[in-house]
Amino acid sequence: MRALIREPLVHFVLVAALVFAGHAAWTAYASARDGTITVTEEDMERMAALYASESGALPSPQDMAAMVTDQVRDEALAREARRLGLDVGDTIIERRLAQKMSFMVSDLADTPAPDEATLRKWYEDHPESYTLAPSITFEHIFLNPERARNTPGTDSQSLLKSLNEPTPPDWRTLGDPFMLQRAYGDLPIRETVRLFGADFARALFSLKAGPEWQGPVSSAFGQHLVHIVAREDGRLQPFEEVRAQVESDWRDDALRGANEQAIADIISRYKVHIEGAE
């Protein structure tokens, strides 16, 4: 989507199509009115782009018409409210104005394109942001602690042996019923601790993935024979894989810093007096 929105040709076609659709809709709505509410091409471009970024699709002419209608309605009501003086002395409106000003500041405070070295340094300084937590995909056969007494001959070692033979029995038919699920996919280590406890998680994450059944591994509930389908170690993703995120994070941070500076500059133009303060 991002790449698409950046494409100048797509940009042009999109705007042209939408301006046409939006203009038609607006003309129909506003022609009977006195006064002028202008919906500019920029307005419509902004609406279309917002729509596209939220929905992932370009707005249809009907969507566009609805957005323009809303815009005209809001504008008319806002003008009427200002005419009646409803905007004066209202905390909410004052806060919104301040908020809007700070948004404007964030547009003003532009950040230059970072060079490769800057990004690499950011990446090295923030490894936690680019590290994936360890996760595991596994199946397990639960063995109740009382199993040995109740069903002799089905101990963990003989089950394990049969499971790893060339023609193993269907694992789903083995073991005791288990109240949680019998197979988990990409379960992060934190979730494993939450569901099975820390000891089980530690033991499970120390096993290697492979076709064979392993164990038993102990949990608070009993013993588990496990088949590790896949295990992802926690790993720092290579810079190349996360470059886009690094750049975005760096920009966010740079922008935040620049914004704070810009707001501080604005405040410095005023003399601030706080009653009661030293």
Partner: protein
């Protein structure tokens, strides 16, 4: 403009990515469990249903009482807390959820004067100019208390304080809470509902305070929520709330209400008359059950299962009993205030008059007013705000500077601690059996009453009833599939065949809490109640009076260490009722008991290096209660 947009869409894409990462995905291998997964199901879908844990009773700064106790956290903060982030308590310390993120969470601010106090405390608003605002946010405690109690009195009487009742503010804050629920609801990962608390209280106390018989209930919307919330300022009568919910339902906005703290309802919550004192009838029962299929049985402010006076033969009935009316030192009437007695009265009504207004399932919650619930005795912060945020305020340690309980002074703080806060405890969570973690799946489970309540730990419990269950099922890996196929789960009606039913009671401990001591079946009929131990730890068998032997578990009070080796990770039994009468209605539910552990007050005393408060129990036996299965004799 395009540059800004590019950044925005990058941010969106990143959010989407990180969401996918934490989402457990189905195993797409050949050996994946063979269940039918419907089109559009979320990851983790399980036709045999998973247990999801959540808290559906949370207040933020927008609740009038929370705000006065310095709570400034928002609905946004509440949901972040439930997802594992750390937030601040008004007393200044950090709160992080015990046991990891929850599966669902719901903000239920008081609808009455919703968001009005924050507006009154914001300079420049019209609301900050009303005389009550000046008093409420003055530095004179007497004025603050009077102003606050006036609000409480208005909530109780239903008479609006005209200059404070600003409907546009209330409605817009209600919309904000809805928006926060929408923002954090993520199908398959984390569920929220649009919800609020209807704050009805009966008794009129002389001092104009908040004391009275508690008839509070939380209202939850399955999907779309209405523009405004029906509060006691519309009517204090819960039956009028049901009428409103019926009306909303007719317009496509489905909801349920869950009453709570019946323990301090002064006998009103399950009384056998209508709100206005008329006899109840079939229409009342039907409307109540349509709107209130569930009851919150335990929370910080005490447990409402039963009371020792009502259940003298239940050795576990004296559990976290709290019976003082809200905001007062008056004791609540016992009869009419507890769930088990209501089940019994319901059966009586059914047998005598043909209807039962109390055929509800069970849930639990914290009722935290500081946006985050404390579910662990080991890490407790009570629930109100700056008045109970610190150990000395809740009586687990003596007042600052004192080390001997004999020197504890009598003042407002110690009196409140003695009567109220020391008698509360870390609780509770609702467990829900649902196919997946979505609004629809959870709400369907609420309607089926396939829910259980815990006093904080995330132990899981299954309960099934049927007529074809066998011992072999207990060791069959597809036990749950067979149990669903051959009977009903908790919350269901079991219609008799003339034969004796079998029940499967099955519990596993919270892997991060204590092992289980025993699993019990509680049987209630119109003529009485019996507690049967169904499964004992250590492979022991219940004796002739249906009791497990002592499993030898102990707690060292000085260190809070528990004895290793006793208790079970899992308990499971095929149980038949030894006193079964095929012609008599009976309500069966399961109670699961953990081994004893230190109560919060003991943990806090140990950390403080002072002896535990001699007036308080040193240990607690955490537990879970399932929704019942109702046996109905053959016609």
């Amino acid at each position: 403009m395009w540059k800004t947009l590019t950044l925005a869409s990058t941010a969106l894409a990143l959010v989407a990515c990180s969401g996918n990462k934490t989402e457990p995905t189905r195993v797409e291998t050949a050996a994946a469990p063979e269940t039918t997964v419907p089109e559009g199901a979320t990851a983790g879908y399980n036709a045999d249903r998973n247990a999801y844990f959540g808290d559906m009773h949370i207040h933020t700064r927008n609740s009038f009482d929370a705000y006065i106790f310095n709570v400034r956290r928002t609905a946004d903060d509440a949901y972040r807390f439930a997802k594992g982030e750390t937030i601040k308590h008004p007393s200044g310390f950090d709160m992080t959820i015990a046991g990891g993120p929850l599966d669902f969470y719901t903000v239920t601010d008081h609808a009455e004067y919703l968001g009005i106090l924050p507006a009154m405390n914001t300079k420049g608003t019209a609301l900050s100019e009303v005389p009550r605002a000046k008093d409420m946010f003055s530095t004179d405690p007497a004025k603050i208390v009077a102003a606050f109690q006036g609000v409480g009195a208005s909530v109780r009487s239903g008479e609006k304080i005209e200059d404070m009742y600003d409907e546009p503010t209330i409605t817009s804050v209600w919309q904000e809470n809805i928006a926060a629920a929408e923002k954090y609801n993520e199908p398959g990962v984390f569920t929220t509902f649009s919800a609020y608390e209807f704050t009805s209280v009966t008794t009129q106390s002389e001092d104009g305070g908040f004391g009275g018989g508690n008839l509070h209930r939380n209202v939850f919307f399955r999907g779309e929520a209405p523009e405004r919330a029906f509060s006691t300022l519309d009517s204090t009568n819960p039956e009028d709330l049901w009428d409103w919910m019926d009306l909303q339902r007719a317009e496509g906005r489905e909801s349920i209400a869950i009453p709570h703290n019946s323990n301090v309802s002064d006998g009103q919550m399950f009384r056998l008359e209508t709100y206005n004192g008329d006899p109840i009838d079939a229409a009342y029962a039907e409307q109540r059950m349509r709107n209130e299929p569930l009851v919150e049985v335990t929370q910080v402010k005490g447990t409402s299962e039963t009371h020792p006076d009502l259940s003298p033969n239940d050795e576990w009935a004296n559990f976290e009993i709290y019976d003082e009316l809200l905001g007062s030192y008056d004791v609540s009437k016992t009869s009419g205030s507890y769930v088990r007695e209501a089940y019994r009265n319901g059966l009586k009504l059914q047998e005598e008059k043909g209807f039962d207004p109390f055929r509800f399932g069970l849930t639990a919650a914290s009722d935290s007013h500081v946006a985050g619930g404390s579910y662990s005795e080991k890490d407790y912060w009570s629930k109100i705000g700056i008045v109970d945020g610190l150990p000395f305020q809740r009586g687990s340690v003596p007042m600052p500077g004192i080390t001997d309980w004999a020197d504890q002074p009598v003042n407002q703080t110690t009196t409140n601690a003695k009567n109220w806060f020391s008698r509360w405890s870390a609780s509770g969570l609702t467990g829900v059996w649902a196919e997946e973690n979505t609004r629809d799946a959870l709400f369907d489970a609420f309607r089926r009453k396939e829910t259980f309540a815990t006093t904080g730990p995330r132990m899981k419990v299954r309960f099934f009833g049927g007529f074809t269950y066998t011992d072999a099922m207990l060791t069959s890996p597809d036990l749950a599939t067979q149990a669903y196929a051959g009977g009903v789960p908790m919350g269901g009606d079991l219609v008799g065949t003339g034969a004796a039913p079998q029940f499967i009671a099955w519990a596993v401990q919270d892997a991060n809490s204590a092992p289980l001591e025993r699993v019990q079946v509680v049987k209630v009929t119109s003529s009485g109640e019996t507690i049967y131990d169904a499964a004992c730890s250590g492979g022991a068998v219940p004796d002739a009076i249906h009791r497990c032997p002592d499993n030898g578990a102990s707690v060292d009070i000085a260190s809070c260490e528990t004895s290793p080796g006793s208790g079970a990770g899992e308990l499971k039994a095929l149980w038949t009722d030894p006193d079964f009468d095929p012609a008599q209605r009976a309500t069966y539910y399961v109670r699961v008991l953990e081994n004893p552990t230190c109560r919060w007050s003991t943990w806090e005393a140990n950390r403080n290096g002072t002896p535990p408060n001699p007036a308080l129990p040193t240990t607690i036996q955490e537990r879970a209660y399932t929704s019942p299965i109702w046996y109905i004799p053959p016609a």
